[in-house]
């Protein structure tokens, strides 16, 4: 494999990786909408034409990488009826600021 085709593949893969970035971004939007994984798969499939298996896989991997967030998220989902919308928002807000505060201080 020559250099140029190697570079080409690098580009293609970078493209691929960025694709997953996009899927994650879309999933996060769905999370803000407080959607379930299934709802998210459907929304991305319908509105962005992303195969549900892709969405599902990225979601699962995100979940592995952000266990606490998703656990809390699942709880809020199950509590939806009992938990007020504000509570839910607050919880998500907190998670967001938690993840923000995790960023190392520059």
């Amino acid at each position: 494999m020559g250099d140029s085709s190697t570079s080409y593949i690098h580009m293609v893969f970078a493209f691929l990786f960025l694709y997953f970035d996009s899927v994650q971004h879309l999933i996060e939007k769905c999370l803000i909408f407080n959607m379930t994984k299934e709802e998210c798969m459907e929304a991305l499939s319908k509105h962005a034409n992303i195969k549900p298996v892709i969405t599902s896989t990225v979601w699962n991997e995100l979940e592995k990488e952000n266990k606490e967030f998703f656990e809390a998220y699942a709880q809020s989902q199950s509590k939806q009826d009992r938990m007020s919308e504000e509570e839910t928002s607050r919880m998500i807000q907190k998670m967001i600021s938690d993840s923000s505060s995790k960023d190392p201080d520059e």
Partner: protein
């Protein structure tokens, strides 16, 4: 400054992609030298202005936070606002003085770092402090009620393209908001608008380069350890799935050609818009994928060619099929012109949630981020926003999974080609 450099690197990496560090070794030597120069250059000024709150000036979009926060339980918000308020008041004063004296270069650069340094808290206060001084950009959510009266700049692809043209004309690292503004020659933009967008742009570029390096590293690993992929039983065969012709990148040829001009966000990977969005991400020194010598490569190349031509008035000459490569930096700077920029990813919680999501203002008052009954339109808009403006930071900023893991998992699920065609 040098000492800060690695920190900055880490920052951006952490901000953008936590996984990069965990999965790959993104060595900076894989990056072109200019990247280092970029860091050094920007850090010089950033160092000086670390304590200065520029957030208010820098990222109008991010100002969403304060508004959102304002809607929140007063207790937590007030403390946050108070805390940040003090900081920002000082910063504002300091900045006011310095602004007269400082070159806009430093301003632009300082904003780059300050933005990272003081994500949410500062914004809250800074906005208030800056209300009188700036005219800007916000307007998201329920801001209209406040005296802020900031007008949000909608960075359309066209606007962004002109921005990138100006930036590349000046040189990404040397581009200064005031000069960019001059070159763009658009009345309704303020230097602040430009400055914040520039910050996002630079950040995004770094992200793209990092992704590229990550991909290169990943591929090399695959090639070296091809027989020992994590996928059980797959071995070499699996590795080959990720190599050219089996990649089966963009699926069908037809959609691409028709839609290369029309920027519609809601499309699939492999369809023009998604491709356009992603193409916008392409680091400028990379050539676009060449027209497919083999059918497996499918659509994007031809469409991309015309897309770029249309968008950037630039014919990808010098790009002969079958000779993809990394052209020298000087080549086709604007080809990937619309390289949008993610802002500062992770800690921008409510960042772009607003207009993108289309959550009604009244709803925001009660639960800013949570629309329990998202309408199709709002979902549509939110998704469209993500696809058309790749530079926007992640709204929640979850730690990204390892790409390796995702790919492996997809393999397990029997998805031989990435990305798949239409859902």
């Amino acid at each position: 400054m040098l000492a800060v450099s690695p920190l900055r690197n880490n920052t951006s990496k952490d901000d953008d992609e936590g996984e990069m560090e965990s999965t790959f070794t993104i060595s900076s030597d894989e990056f072109p030298d200019f990247a280092d120069g970029n860091l050094l250059e920007s850090i010089d000024f950033d160092d000086l202005f670390l304590s200065i709150d520029v957030d208010g000036d820098v990222l109008p979009d991010l100002e969403m936070d304060p508004e959102i926060l304002a809607e929140f339980p007063p207790a937590s918000e007030e403390s946050e606002m108070n805390a940040s308020g003090e900081k920002t008041d000082e910063s504002d004063n300091q900045r006011k003085d310095e602004e007269e004296n400082k070159v806009s270069t430093s301003k632009g650069d300082e904003e780059t770092v300050s933005k990272r340094e003081e994500p949410k808290a500062v914004k809250t206060g800074s906005k208030d402090g800056d209300k009188g001084r700036k005219s800007s950009i916000r307007g998201k959510s329920n801001n209209n009620n406040q005296s802020t009266r900031k007008v949000k700049v909608d960075w359309t692809p066209e606007l962004h393209r002109r921005f990138v043209q100006a930036v590349e004309q000046l040189g990404v690292d040397k581009a200064v908001p005031s000069r960019i503004l001059e070159l763009m020659g658009i009345d309704c933009l303020t230097r602040h608008n430009i400055a914040s967008h520039l910050q996002k742009y630079r950040s995004h570029r770094k992200h793209l380069l990092a992704r590229e390096a990550e991909a290169a590293s990943w591929i090399h690993r695959r090639q070296i350890y091809g027989g020992a992929t994590p996928v059980g039983g797959g071995g070499k065969r699996d590795v080959n799935h990720w190599l050219p012709p089996t990649m089966g990148f963009p699926p069908s040829a037809s959609p691409m050609h028709h839609q290369n001009h029309h920027f519609r966000p809601l499309h699939v990977w492999g369809h023009p818009t998604m491709d356009q969005s992603l193409m916008q991400l392409w680091p400028k020194h990379l050539a676009p994928p060449p027209p497919p010598p083999r059918p497996a490569w499918g659509p994007p190349p031809p469409a991309d060619t015309s897309f770029w031509h249309h968008q950037h008035h630039r014919v990808p000459n010098g790009q002969t099929p079958g000779t993809p490569c990394f052209p020298p930096l000087t080549v086709a700077p604007t080809r990937l012109g619309a390289v949008p920029v993610p802002g500062i990813p992770p800690h921008h919680a409510m960042y772009k949630a607003d207009p993108g999501i289309g959550v009604p203002a009244s709803q925001l008052r009660r639960h800013p981020l949570v629309d329990l009954h998202p309408s199709k339109e709002s979902i549509d808009a939110a998704i469209g926003d993500v696809l058309s403006k790749p530079w926007l930071p992640l709204p929640i900023g979850l730690k990204p999974p390892s790409t390796d893991g995702v790919l492996v998992e997809l393999q397990r699920q029997g998805v031989p080609k990435i990305p798949p065609s239409c859902a």
